[in-house]
């Protein structure tokens, strides 16, 4: 985006560029490759041949610098929560978070006696899409990614964000 900054002052150009860029962004949801629990197995299954996430342009990246989407797939222990937050902070903007499964959504089965579990990853990072399930099937993860695509396409990325 750096090369395009301040080059186009006409609103109408910015609007259509939004569409162009959002179209290309939503077609390449590179997700951050790390899993925390059994949800990660479903994420791997979603990425593998049968469900083939690559159809949607979603491919795993091993570095936060290259990733657009963080899929929090599994139980976020308090020990891991500090790491999850740091990894999120290391990702480049624009960045998104998908909370996958009951544990990441709300603590799941660790809700009552989980002395070591964060009760919802949204306490430490902003979550864009929540996927219910324990664990969610690959189809559910794919639907989550498609919802995120929809959200990306509707976002005005070049317009100044109001913080």
């Amino acid at each position: 985006m750096g090369a395009l900054n301040h080059k186009f002052n006409e609103n109408i150009l910015i609007t259509s560029l939004d569409k162009l860029m959002n179209w290309s962004r939503s077609g390449s949801e590179w997700y951050f490759q790390f899993g925390l629990a059994c949800c990660a197995i479903e994420m791997m299954s979603a990425a593998a041949a049968r469900h083939d996430l690559e159809r949607f342009g979603a491919m795993p990246r091993s570095s936060p610098r290259q990733a657009d989407v963080m899929i929090v797939a599994g139980t976020v222990t308090l020990k891991m929560a500090t790491r999850v937050k740091r990894l999120y902070e290391q990702m480049a903007e624009p960045k998104y978070v998908i909370s996958m499964g009951s544990c990441a959504n709300s603590g799941g089965p660790y809700w009552q006696h989980g002395y070591h579990v964060l009760k919802g990853v949204d306490q430490i990072v902003p979550v864009d899409v929540y996927i219910p399930g324990c664990p969610p099937r690959p189809e559910a993860l794919i639907e989550g990614l498609l919802h995120l695509q929809k959200k990306m396409r509707e976002e005005p990325i070049l317009a100044k964000k109001e913080d």
Binding site: G107, Y115, H116, L118
Partner: protein, 162 residues
């Protein structure tokens, strides 16, 4: 060798330090021993020709009821002679200690760290006794039955269901 014979051998060698022999249907036959003697006993059963317990399969901490002594349980196997025995020892809840067997069985190194991490059992003579699962700045020992979870950890709320 049967468990009964192993117990007889231990009790003739160590006398009072071997407290009792528990044989129940649901439990592995268990020899209860004093905490101060556990290292000597492990050395003995590892090196004696008729016992040859060369494998410590598991070492676990245990809090029976939140009031009485904490237990440490050792599951041993002889790969040479193919017999098993379970040893159990006990230590006061707060400032007791159990002799480390990490120098006798390397398996015990991380297992003792786990028992320390979750039950606060101290192992004297352990080469590097520090937490293994919880963060270093964690307060309390979470698997003790009288453990009360903190409300916050590093600013993150640990919610409680009322």
């Amino acid at each position: 060798m049967t468990e009964q014979e192993i117990y007889a051998s231990l009790s003739s060698k160590f006398g009072d330090q071997v407290v009792e022999f528990i044989e129940e249907e649901t439990l592995n036959p268990t020899v209860v021993v004093e905490a101060s003697a556990i290292a000597d006993i492990c050395n003995y059963i590892k090196d004696t020709e008729t016992l040859q317990f060369d494998s410590l399969m598991n070492l676990a901490g245990h809090d029976p009821d939140g009031e009485s002594d904490l237990n440490v349980i050792y599951h041993l196997h002889s790969t040479e002679l193919d017999h098993y025995i379970t040893l159990k020892t006990f230590t006061p809840r707060d400032d007791g200690s159990v002799a480390s067997v990490a120098n006798i069985y390397r398996t015990a190194d991380w297992h003792e760290r786990e028992a320390y991490d979750l039950f606060g059992i101290k192992f004297s003579g352990h080469p590097d006794l520090k937490r293994i699962l919880m963060e270093d700045d964690w307060e309390g020992f979470p698997l003790k039955k009288d453990y009360v979870p903190a409300e916050f950890y590093r600013g993150m709320r640990i919610e409680k269901v009322k």
